[in-house]
């Protein structure tokens, strides 16, 4: 049996086990489904890491195992596991079914693994949909919440358009090259000319548009804030973090794989979007008073930095940024879950008022997360941004001369980002609690995930 199938087996078996657990009574269901999910996700991640040889191809080239692919797949699996742990004690609040929610999350994880190793156009599209469809379900999972329904429908409709565009791009690419395998497409594109090349350019633009939509790269980010606002925090731990990271992984693999011959087209395009992202994202984030919307726009800014690492063709810096972003985001949602009341999440920035007085350790943890978002040393956010900048400068000679302008804009607008991140710090540390707020009992799982995130962010930038 091939190694990739064995590696995914725990995930598939876990999925099937969850189907059984979903029919059990409510009480054992929550803990049992969490245990099964975490075990399955963890086992798959470990098997991928240690049992699947790098450089191998499987299923006739449908799966190609690369170092970066393994890193991204494992990262996504760990993040989904973190998300699953977080849902204990939270899903009841949003009246969602424990086992069902985890089933959807596991299905999404399976898609993420496939997407990370996709070696041909068919696998790329199927994996893309395997990641997308569960996201739509998760966004609208809280059936009794109209905002969640709105988010789900909005995400579904716009996502369907993106999928259609993506599929059209893939078919154009097949039309231009006559190949399904990404490695062979790369060879064909290197020697393409005339109409074939034009078709490839159109395919590239369509594919980039779809992936930019999915990863909320500016100016394709218009849906993000609304979907974030309507989704529950549990859904955001999947949508805002591992889903995005897996699609970014595909973007990196496509740009620096089959599309490497068209670098003179996509590199300026990515740089342009990165520049637009840091400007638009930061400016829009300033005026936000809601936590989810603020971090939606912060996500647009971070996506821009990730684009810079793709332009620089720097897998190390790319992986560091993805890891940092994933840990930061999961940690942040965990923290926001932890500080909500029994009936409502902390929604507005002012809901964090006086947090330092109530829960000093939580405030310290959120401070670390925010400093990492802002890129303050010694947090991983700083090293991730530094790695992105140095790698871009290292490859500056291959880029249009205005790349320095984009890099400069990224640094200057970071200044703007300090404004809104420090507004949050201000609310937590310098403001008294607004009115009498019911204090929620901090749950062990929230504390564990968010504490681990904060600690990770302090050490992630370094490898001894």
């Amino acid at each position: 049996m091939n190694a990739i199938l064995i590696a995914q087996l725990p995930l598939i078996l876990g999925f099937m086990a969850l189907l059984v657990v979903a029919s059990l009574r409510a009480k054992p269901r929550a803990l049992l489904s969490t245990a099964i999910s975490v075990a399955a996700l963890g086992a798959t991640a470990l098997l991928l890491q240690y049992r699947v040889p790098t450089g191998e191809t499987y299923f006739g080239g449908a799966y190609v195992i690369s170092v970066l692919g393994k890193q991204i797949a494992c990262l996504c699996l760990y993040l989904v596991a973190g998300a699953v742990v977080l849902t204990n004690g939270y899903l009841e609040k949003v009246r969602a079914q424990q086992a069902d929610w985890k089933l959807v999350a596991m299905a999404s994880a399976l898609g993420m693994v496939s997407l990370s190793f996709a070696g041909d156009l068919a696998t790329v599209f199927i994996s893309f949909e395997m990641v997308s469809i569960p996201s739509y379900v998760l966004a609208g999972f809280s059936q009794r919440d109209p905002r969640s329904n709105e988010a789900g429908i909005k995400y579904l409709l716009l996502g369907a358009v993106a999928s259609a565009v993506f599929l059209m791009g893939l078919s154009f690419l097949y039309g231009a090259t006559g190949e399904m395998h990404l490695q062979e497409i790369a060879g064909k594109l290197a020697s393409a000319e005339g109409g074939q090349l034009q078709l490839a350019h159109i395919a590239l633009m369509l594919i980039l548009s779809a992936l930019f939509f999915k990863t909320a790269v500016a100016p394709f980010h218009f849906w993000l804030a609304d979907v974030y606002q309507g989704s529950s925090l549990a859904a955001l731990t999947i949508i805002a973090s591992p889903v995005k990271l897996a699609v970014f992984g595909l973007l990196f693999a496509l740009c620096n794989g089959p599309f490497v011959a068209l670098a003179n087209v996509w590199k300026p395009a990515l740089l342009l979007c990165a520049g637009a992202g840091v400007l638009i994202g930061n400016v829009q984030a300033i005026s936000q008073s809601q936590i989810k919307r603020l971090f939606a726009y912060s996500g647009v800014v971070n996506a821009s930095f990730i684009l810079l690492t793709i332009v620089a063709d720097a897998p190390g810096a790319f992986a560091l940024y993805l890891t940092t972003y994933g840990v930061m985001t999961t940690g942040l949602w965990a923290a926001i879950m932890a500080v909500g009341t029994d009936h409502a999440d902390a929604d507005e920035l002012k809901d964090l008022s006086g947090l330092a007085a109530k829960h000093p350790l939580v405030a310290v943890g959120i401070t670390v997360l925010l400093l990492s978002y802002a890129g303050v040393p010694p947090t991983a956010g700083f090293f991730a941004k530094l790695a992105a900048a140095t790698e871009l400068l290292r490859h500056g000679t291959e880029l249009p001369s205005w790349y320095l302008g984009v890099l400069g804009a990224a640094f200057v607008t970071t200044l703007v980002s300090f404004f809104y991140y420090f507004q949050m710090l201000r609310q937590m540390w310098f403001h008294e609690a607004a009115g009498v707020q019911p204090v929620r009992q901090l749950l062990w799982n929230h504390r564990a995930v968010f504490g681990a995130s904060a600690l990770l962010l302090l050490v992630l930038g370094f490898v001894l």
């Binding site: 720097a314 190390g316 810096a317 790319f318 992986a319 560091l320 940024y321 890891t323 400093l371 303050v376 040393p377 010694p378 700083f382 090293f383 991730a384 530094l386 790695a387 900048a389 140095t390 790698e391 400068l393 290292r394 320095l404 890099l407 400069g408 640094f411 200057v412 970071t414 200044l415 300090f418 404004f419 420090f422 710090l425 201000r426 540390w429 310098f430 992630l460 930038g461 370094f462 490898v463 001894l464």
Partner: protein, 497 residues
């Protein structure tokens, strides 16, 4: 032995943080003792550098690979006479600040925790021997100051809005430090994290455009912290809202981060850029001295006068830096004069801000137009304030005079006119300081300020010890200047490990 002590030094503030976390009461007294002892430790660590045959101390620390970028992060530290001046200054200021300035009511441990984050970071900036470590401490200092001011700043009707002032401080500071980060990214690109002494070598292989970008990036970062005129927008309001001890530390030490960057990091490495831009920057420095002096004349509040006198005096430090090594790389007289002036200014400002805080019971700003004759109630404080004011005004025989004269000598060789202009600025500042001192302390008692008790004998003794430092260095500046010049010559000769 000194190497071990140097390695331990940055961790001591962490220990002090832990101490305050687990102490229930009496934080002010505890801080007065522990910070004084820490100050003495730093002084003992730095002083041997001023003995003629003391070797340079270098600690390599450990290196770590930054994930993803292939860049090695080094935790190297160093100590020679140049940065010992800054460490010694920090060591001497700590007892002054924490003995003289105590919070008026019992404060939460966060006051001392954030203070120690700031102090540890300041020390780290002065002893770091790698660019990334230097930047790490640089930003940590901002965080310490942010929390110290934000949590314990002054929210009174006679001060600006606390958070507005604080945010301005943070954003303007970052307006400097982010370009500096870009400069660091450019410099570490070819060869990874570099030692400060190797900066010149690292930038010599960069393209002219990148080199230019790095130069302006560093200059902005250091210029905001100093501050240079035009980049001083944070100065007044931040000083107004900061807790008194923080204000003294900001003026005495934190501003010296910028001076350290200019004198020890930037000028020795970017000789050719200073060849081109030196005169223009000297004009900016001279303008800062005049601007600071003129604004001092127009201010009514003692704290504001001290703040703007700081701008004027630090412009003289900038003048020395920009006069730098133009023409002759082995001539370190300007940089040495700048470092000497940094030391003098820091000690004087810590002392002046400490005494300023001790005038009234409630710590409100004292207005010259409303208050007078304070001498009657605080004879000892008045006497020490008088000496400190004279020291700030560069009275011959005190160290600041020697420092200023050395700056003028060095700058004069490069540009007599700018030197003259800066001298005029310093003169106006001196006049403004003596004027406000005269109005506040002499004449008939005016105003309804409730004066605090006069200084106690141990405090007077501490004050006299500070005055004796000014006297000794004023009469024999070579005690300080000689070792710094020798250390600089060692760096220029390229024999630094």
């Amino acid at each position: 032995m000194r190497g071990t002590l140097l390695s331990v030094a940055p961790f001591i503030p962490l220990g002090l943080i832990a101490l305050h976390m687990f102490t229930r009461q009496g934080h002010a007294k505890l801080a007065a003792w522990t910070q004084s002892l820490f100050g003495l430790f730093l002084a003992a660590l730095a002083l041997p550098s001023f003995v003629s045959d003391a070797p340079r101390v270098a600690v390599d620390g450990f290196s770590m690979m930054i994930t993803g970028s292939g860049t090695v992060f080094k935790t190297a530290l160093y100590l020679d006479a140049r940065n010992s001046a800054f460490v010694l200054l920090l060591g001497l200021c700590l007892p002054i600040i924490f003995v003289f300035i105590r919070p008026r009511t019992e404060v939460k441990p966060s006051y001392y925790i954030s203070a120690n984050i700031l102090i540890g970071s300041l020390l780290g900036v002065f002893i770091a021997n790698s660019l990334l470590l230097f930047y790490l401490f640089w930003e940590m200092a901002l965080l310490g100051a942010y929390f110290w001011i934000g949590l314990h700043g002054q929210r009174r009707e006679d001060t600006p809005a606390l958070y507005t002032a604080l945010m301005r401080f943070v954003l303007i500071t970052l307006f400097g430090s982010l370009p500096m980060l870009m400069a660091i990214a450019i410099v570490i690109l070819p060869s990874g994290d570099v030692a400060l002494a190797d900066l010149g070598r690292s930038i010599s292989i960069l393209s002219p455009e990148l080199r230019g970008l790095a130069f302006w990036g560093f200059l902005l970062g250091f210029g905001v912290k100093l501050p240079l005129v035009g980049l001083h927008g944070w100065l007044r309001d931040t000083y107004a809202v900061a807790p008194p001890a923080c204000r003294a530390l900001l003026s005495a030490i934190m501003s010296k981060m910028g001076a350290y960057g200019l004198l020890i990091v930037l000028v020795p490495a970017f000789g050719s850029e200073f060849g081109t831009w030196g005169p223009t920057l000297m004009a900016v420095a001279a303008a800062g001295a005049i601007y600071g002096g003129v604004v001092c004349l127009g201010r009514d509040r003692l704290t504001d006068v001290l703040a703007y006198s700081s701008l004027a005096h630090l412009s003289l430090v900038a003048l020395a830096a920009f006069a730098g090594t133009r023409g002759d790389a082995s001539d370190s007289s300007a940089i040495t004069a700048g470092i000497f002036q940094v030391f003098n200014h820091g000690l004087i400002m810590a002392f002046l801000f400490a005494l300023d805080d001790r005038i009234s019971v409630d710590g409100r700003g004292i207005l010259m137009s409303e208050v007078g004759g304070l001498r009657a109630g605080q004879g000892r404080l008045t006497a020490l304030m008088l000496v400190a004011m004279f020291a700030a005004a560069s009275l011959p025989g005190l160290s600041n005079f020697a420092g200023e004269i050395l700056v003028y000598f060095a700058a004069f060789r490069v540009s007599p006119w700018y030197t003259f202009a800066a001298g005029a600025g310093a003169l106006i500042t001196a006049a403004a300081m003596i004027r406000i001192f005269h109005h506040l302390f002499f004449g008939a008692r005016r105003g309804n300020v409730v004066q605090a008790a006069d200084l106690r004998i141990p405090e007077v003794a501490l004050g006299l010890a500070v005055v004796s430092v000014w006297l000794v260095l004023g009469l024999y500046p070579m005690l300080f200047v000689g070792p710094v010049e020798r250390a600089f010559a060692t760096v220029v000769a390229g024999v630094v490990p």
